[in-house]
């Protein structure tokens, strides 16, 4: 994983910085090269950083409840700028209020995210999935098949 770069940041006008520091430290320890954009990161900043660092994944955090509004068109913009294959993860307190996991997953799968994590989910599992997803991504990139069925939701 040493050579695998991932982009980390808190999207939108969100100022919750504590979880971001924790995630940075955690993923770095797990061997990822973490480029941490901190809080209040725009879609453009995420994408530019991903291109610049040839990143395998973008890990979006959103704690303050505006994730849905902030993420509209994110996947499309990635594609526009040539990041067809990039893994999009999102985690945090993703909506305003406390709806069911299913409803939240539906919303963010529609928005093009590959995996969705909610408050209280285990980070260890998340890191493992990330690693596995990246491996698979790499293999499929070297194969000729296109990648569609890869997207999955954490259950």
């Amino acid at each position: 994983m040493k050579d695998t770069t991932i982009i980390l940041g808190v999207i939108g006008s969100d100022c919750h910085s504590v979880g971001n520091s924790i995630l940075d430290a955690f993923l770095t320890e797990r061997g990822f090269r973490v480029v941490n954009l901190g809080v209040m990161v725009s879609q453009e900043e995420f994408i530019t950083a991903a291109i610049e660092h040839d990143a395998a994944a973008i890990l979006v955090s959103s704690l303050y409840g505006h994730a849905e509004l902030d993420c509209v068109g994110f996947r499309e913009r990635c594609v526009e700028r040539g990041l067809e294959q990039i893994l999009l993860y999102i985690g945090g307190n993703l909506v305003v209020g406390k709806p069911s996991r299913e409803a939240i997953e539906q919303t963010f799968v529609k928005l093009g995210f590959d995996r969705i994590f909610l408050a209280g989910d285990d980070l260890e599992t998340a890191a493992k999935r990330l690693q596995a997803d990246i491996e698979r991504q790499k293999q499929s990139l070297t194969s000729t098949e296109t990648q569609i069925s890869n997207c999955g939701i954490v259950k």
Binding site: D14, S17, V18, S21, I22, G38, K98, G120
Partner: protein
């Protein structure tokens, strides 16, 4: 110490620009607004309620709450007032408005109207404007405060005060450091002088507006000496502009003795400081925030956290408590969950009844530690500003004399390393630029060494991580697994 009240001319010059920054600003007419405020009955005046709580030695409850649409917002606050029995009401502002992104807030209102659920994490008061704010405040029978996190809250203050709110939270430090990434402290301090001058102007016209600096900062391992220093500074800056009703806050740290000592010392320190600065005509009250860090997801455990904070606030003799909910870890609470938090809190406050204020030897010890620490810092701030406290504050943050850990802002160094000692007191492992006397530094260090020894590990960053997770895992001190 110099005090400097902004001139009315300067104020009015800026004012025009402020009101033009979004269309709803045009509806604010200060004279009419003052007349409107003057007609608000005492029972709905925040300042009055706080003063009475202090006089009667009781603890008032206040939730957090705000949704995108006016009707729903009114329904929400009414529910908290009746079913929840809240003594004081909030209007929590959404995160776009906090960033002055009124266009995005407008989109959020639209989407909310369309989908029927609030897509904003608060009430976009600027977009709704004066008249709608008045509809809100008029629909309620308890005092209502604006709670937000807005670095530039000038237009928000204009609209909400004209809209009948009688208290306004925030300050140039506490609504900058924990809330934004890159807004110069000088700008926020100046913008908040405007807000304070506006409140002072109301006050001069017989309308008391309560002002409350945001005590908890990042809500995460904040040593009391730091948040106290910030609170006292912001309080001082408010008094300078003519504010008279001031509430200073403390976010629960988790150690009972330290929390009690913190509230007690906050009161005495601020009072002495303001008096020595020449202010006499002010009403100082205290606010206790139930645990401001990460909450446990499990609702029963969340109730445990809520209960524990309430007991401490009672023992500490605070005047107001900011109440959390069993949904805290998950998302903006439903009105039912919000009322649940209020009811659990109220039950304890009521059971406590008269038995307030804890007085034990350790409290005295910690009180004097905190008092000495705050004095060290403030002396330096004043020195750096050569008597001008605003200048001193700016310089102090630059120099790391004032510092906050885990803050997103580039305006502070983030070099200090706070962690819990073996009894759960928050101490400084690295005090970085904070100018503490040597024996105080040694005291912190010694207490932390005790923990390290107890845990059979060296003092390390992992401890801080462990501490941050601890409460949501049902502990205070983050012990090694």
């Amino acid at each position: 110490m110099k005090t400097k009240k902004n001139s009315l001319d300067d104020f009015n010059k800026i004012r025009r620009q402020v009101l033009q920054s979004w269309p709803t600003g045009a509806d604010v007419h200060l004279d009419e607004a003052i007349a409107y405020q003057q007609a608000i009955p005492d029972s709905k005046r925040f300042a009055k309620a706080m003063a009475e709580a202090k006089a009667r030695n009781t603890l008032l409850t206040q939730p957090r709450a705000g949704v995108a649409l006016v009707e729903e917002h009114i329904r929400l606050l009414k529910y908290l007032e009746t079913e929840g029995g809240a003594d004081l009401l909030p209007t929590t502002i959404d995160a776009y408005t906090r960033q002055n992104r009124y266009r995005e807030a407008a989109k959020g209102i639209e989407k909310s109207t369309a989908s029927g659920v609030s897509m904003l994490n608060g009430f976009p008061a600027v977009n709704h404007g004066v008249e709608q704010c008045r509809r809100v405040t008029e629909s309620l029978s308890r005092p209502v405060q604006v709670r937000h996190g807005t670095p530039d809250a000038r237009l928000l203050a204009e609209i909400t005060l004209a809209g009948g709110f009688t208290s306004f939270e925030g300050g140039g430090i506490s609504y900058n450091i924990p809330y934004v990434k890159n807004v110069p402290l000088r700008k926020t301090l100046t913008d908040w002088q405007y807000v304070d001058r506006l409140c002072g102007y109301y006050e001069e016209h017989g309308v008391a507006i309560n002002r409350e600096p945001f005590g908890p900062l990042t809500g995460t391992l904040v040593p009391p000496c730091i948040s106290h220093a910030v609170g006292i500074i912001e309080g001082f800056l408010a008094l300078e502009q003519g504010v008279k009703s001031l509430s200073l806050g403390h976010g629960q740290g988790g150690n009972l003795v330290q929390d009690v000592a913190a509230v007690m010392s906050l009161k005495s320190l601020a009072d002495r400081f303001f008096r020595e600065a020449g202010f006499a005509d002010f009403e100082l009250t205290t606010v206790f925030h139930q645990w401001m860090g990460g909450f446990p997801v499990d609702e029963s455990r969340a109730f445990g956290v809520i209960g524990w904070g309430t007991v401490v606030a009672c023992l500490a003799g605070a005047d107001k408590i900011i109440v959390k909910t069993p949904h805290e870890a998950m998302g903006v609470p439903t009105k039912e969950a919000n009322a649940q938090g209020l009811k659990a809190t109220k039950q304890i406050i009521n059971m406590f009844g008269e038995q307030r204020n804890l007085d034990i030897a350790a409290v005295e010890r910690e009180k004097s530690v905190i008092e000495r620490e705050v004095n060290c810092i403030l002396k330096k701030v004043i020195e750096l500003g050569r008597g001008d406290i605003k200048e001193g504050t700016i310089a102090a943050f630059e120099a790391g004399v004032l510092d906050v850990a885990f803050a997103p802002s580039t305006q502070c160094r983030g070099k200090i390393l706070p962690m819990r000692d073996n009894e759960g007191y928050i101490r400084l492992y690295n005090h970085a630029g904070i100018p503490l006397d040597d024996d105080l530094v040694a005291y912190h260090r010694e207490r932390l060494e005790q923990r390290a020894k107890h845990e059979k590990r060296n003092i390390c960053f992992q401890m801080i991580t462990d501490d941050i997770y601890a409460i949501s895992k049902g502990q205070l001190v983050g012990r090694p697994r």
